[in-house]
Symmetry: C2
Subunit: 169 residues, 2 copies
């Protein structure tokens, strides 16, 4: 149906910063993890978030068949987890000090700033990608929400929010 | 189906920064605009993005019936547009110096940092919200992608990326 080339589209989205999440799951064939810049809240009541996964991701088969998964919201201190979830050809669970399993079985990264465990409730296929809708069942959120902790990805670089980056409306 | 309360869910998403977009359309009943922190790229080939719209938004009827729309990626210099698209009970098109129409008819904000015009190709209803999938048809993207221009929303505050906010992987 025509439209923008992939390069033109990517150029436009380099203008659009994002928070970073790592999504983990285990559908019975071992834990997988994927770094995503594509997580947002759709609805607070019911509590539903979405993310997208490309068929090209090694984690796709598991993320698209898992009933439940964990979405970790990363802080700047979690940049190592963002890089781990984005690395190719590595065992993302080789360092057993980084992860554990929830009592419900899902793998999760214990040092992640915040996380939500949820159940997949819908999927929308778009080309070679799928948008996954997740109903939030439980969460672990720190009391502290200092802006200095926030990690942002923009134009292929990493940024950390701080009181100095704040602007007034 | 239970799960997190709305307050718990919102607390978790306050940990997750986002870029900011304003989405405009006119389905025949006049122009509408809505500020959204819920825009991401799903696929570059085909070039598809998604955003979500709550039924509570005054722009929802138009955004959910329009065939085509414009997604503006805002810079820190566009904070006024972000506030305009989020304001309640105002005519967002009262200042006619801020907007024009593309040759294809869609209203757009002429000073927005970057924008993508696209056609709605799918929708996924989730509670009182809808995730809308948009196939990108055309765009206006500046050559300049200096980080100083990037606008980020985090924990109900606004931030501007800069060389000083950058961290090394």
């Amino acid at each position: 149906m025509g439209g923008l080339s992939a390069d033109e589209f990517k150029a436009a989205f380099r203008q659009h910063p994002s928070g970073i999440a790592v999504i983990t799951a285990d559908a019975g064939n071992g834990p997988v993890a994927m770094t995503a810049s594509s997580v947002f809240s759709v609805s607070a009541d019911p509590p539903v978030l979405v993310f997208s996964v490309s068929q090209m991701s090694s984690a796709a088969p598991t993320l698209l068949s898992a009933d439940t998964l964990v979405v970790h919201m990363l802080s700047a201190e979690n940049l190592d987890l963002a890089l781990l979830g984005a690395a190719r050809g590595v065992d993302r669970f080789a360092d057993t000090s980084l992860w554990a399993r929830l009592s419900t079985g899902e793998p999760y990264f214990v040092n992640a700033h915040a996380w939500i465990r949820g159940r997949v409730v819908d999927r929308m296929r778009i080309g070679e990608s799928t948008v996954v809708a997740v109903h939030a069942l439980s969460s672990n959120t720190p009391e502290d929400i200092a802006p200095a902790q926030a990690l942002v990805y923009h134009n292929r670089t990493w940024h950390q929010l701080s009181p100095e980056s704040r602007i007034e409306a």
